[in-house]
């Protein structure tokens, strides 16, 4: 019985592992913490799996649990990550502000996202994943109106970081 459950879970996760990898990309800065977060997400998913009844899609459920894991983990480490990010991003903005190629611009955007807080990162992530507001509100457990308001604020925040 347990073996069966394990097999089911691992097969599902293997198919949907991109979700976890992409969350790791938003929330971590280097390969090592990427792997750590990926492992933590796997463990949390596995722990929660018996409660997953299949009344939603595996991927929908996975977005929720994985994002929660990233947010919780990120909160614990908030201080150290924040200061580090802040310095490096500011330095980059100053030195690269004149080079306005498309690639540089994308890099600036990614760096700016790294500066956001845990919830805002989740919002941006879901936006990039092409989720609509109904899906975003369901995944994060907030109302749709709230999701819209928050998303608009995040856009302004990003704008302010890039063009201070």
């Amino acid at each position: 019985m347990n073996k069966e459950l394990e097999h089911q879970f691992v097969t599902n996760l293997e198919k949907n592992q991109n979700i976890a990898h992409k969350i790791c990309r938003i929330y971590t800065n280097d390969q090592e913490s990427h792997n750590d977060l990926f492992q933590e997400i796997t463990i949390q998913l596995w722990k929660a799996y018996p409660k997953f009844r299949g009344d939603s899609k595996f991927s929908t459920w996975m977005y929720r649990v994985a994002l929660n894991t990233a947010i919780t983990l990120y909160r614990k480490k908030k201080k150290s990550i924040r200061t580090q990010d802040y310095d490096s991003v500011h330095f980059k903005i100053k030195s690269e502000a004149y080079d306005d190629t498309a690639e540089q611009h994308l890099k600036l955007m990614y760096d700016a996202i790294k500066q956001l807080n845990d919830i805002d990162k989740a919002l941006v992530f879901l936006y990039l994943e092409d989720k609509n507001y109904a899906e975003i509100s369901e995944t994060l457990g907030i109302t749709e109106v709230n999701a819209r308001v928050k998303m608009n604020r995040v856009k302004t925040k990003l704008q302010n970081i890039i063009n201070p």
């Binding site: 347990n2 073996k3 459950l5 394990e6 879970f9 691992v10 097969t11 996760l13 293997e14 592992q17 991109n18 990898h21 992409k22 990926f38 492992q39 796997t42 463990i43 596995w46 722990k47 018996p50 498309a102 611009h105 994308l106 955007m109 990614y110 941006v124 936006y127 990039l128 994943e129 092409d130 856009k155 990003l158 704008q159 890039i162």
Partner: protein, 211 residues
């Protein structure tokens, strides 16, 4: 906002270059947590052993051995060193095999058994440390006392203890022993206890899944 939409395009493009884990690699991740705790138990036991060995080298200089010779403790000490090193090596070996076993495990029930085994080994290890400390303490006291009785010159007639003084002396010794053992026990439960508690939590989670 065109900025974010530009990013969205890039985000989708990068989706193809995401590294993929195989079925087996994901499978292993589920069990990793217990394995890293057991790895730490193994490492800490080695660090602890190395620390003890280094401390011994620093403490046990010629002067120390001369003093021990005076108390007739040399042979006793060498024997306890040898025995305790053998037993410590045995435990380090045990911790190592536990670590290897937990790494190779691929089913919940075997993992649960290994976790129980690890907990038992650590408990035995702490028990061994406590008993050996008590043993060394009591025997050192006996040797020192005997040496004292043999070499002391009876200066006054009231040198010998009456029963009240004996009671006080033994009580004091036992109290000192209890305090020393208490401190050792506290240190070990702190160091290993945290790891054991985490391991126990994993065990309970596994058990829930098993049902």
């Amino acid at each position: 906002m065109d900025n974010l939409d530009l990013l969205k395009k890039d985000w989708k493009k990068q989706e193809k270059s995401i590294p993929q884990l195989s079925y087996d690699e994901i499978y292993k991740l589920i069990w990793k947590r217990s394995s890293s705790i057991v790895k730490w138990i193994f490492f800490i036991s080695i660090i602890e052993f190395a620390l003890g060995a280094v401390l011994n080298i620093f403490i046990a200089d010629d002067e120390y051995w001369a003093k021990m010779e005076e108390y007739n403790l040399t042979i006793f000490l060498i024997c306890t060193y040898v025995v305790s090193y053998i037993i410590t090596f045995y435990f380090i070996y045990k911790f190592y095999t536990n670590y290897k076993a937990i790494n190779a495990t691929d089913s919940a029930s075997v993992l649960m058994k290994t976790i129980l085994k690890v907990r038992k080994t650590v408990k035995y290890y702490i028990g061994f440390i406590l008993i050996s400390s008590a043993f060394v303490f009591v025997f050192s006291m006996i040797f020192i006392l005997r040496n004292h009785v043999l070499t002391a010159e009876p200066v006054a007639s009231n040198m010998s203890f009456d029963w009240k003084q004996w009671l006080l002396f033994i009580g004091g010794t036992l109290l000192a022993l209890a305090v020393i053992l208490g401190v050792i026990w506290l240190i070990y439960t702190l160091v290993y206890g945290i790891l054991l508690r985490r391991l126990h939590r994993n065990y309970k989670e596994l058990k829930k899944l098993e049902m």
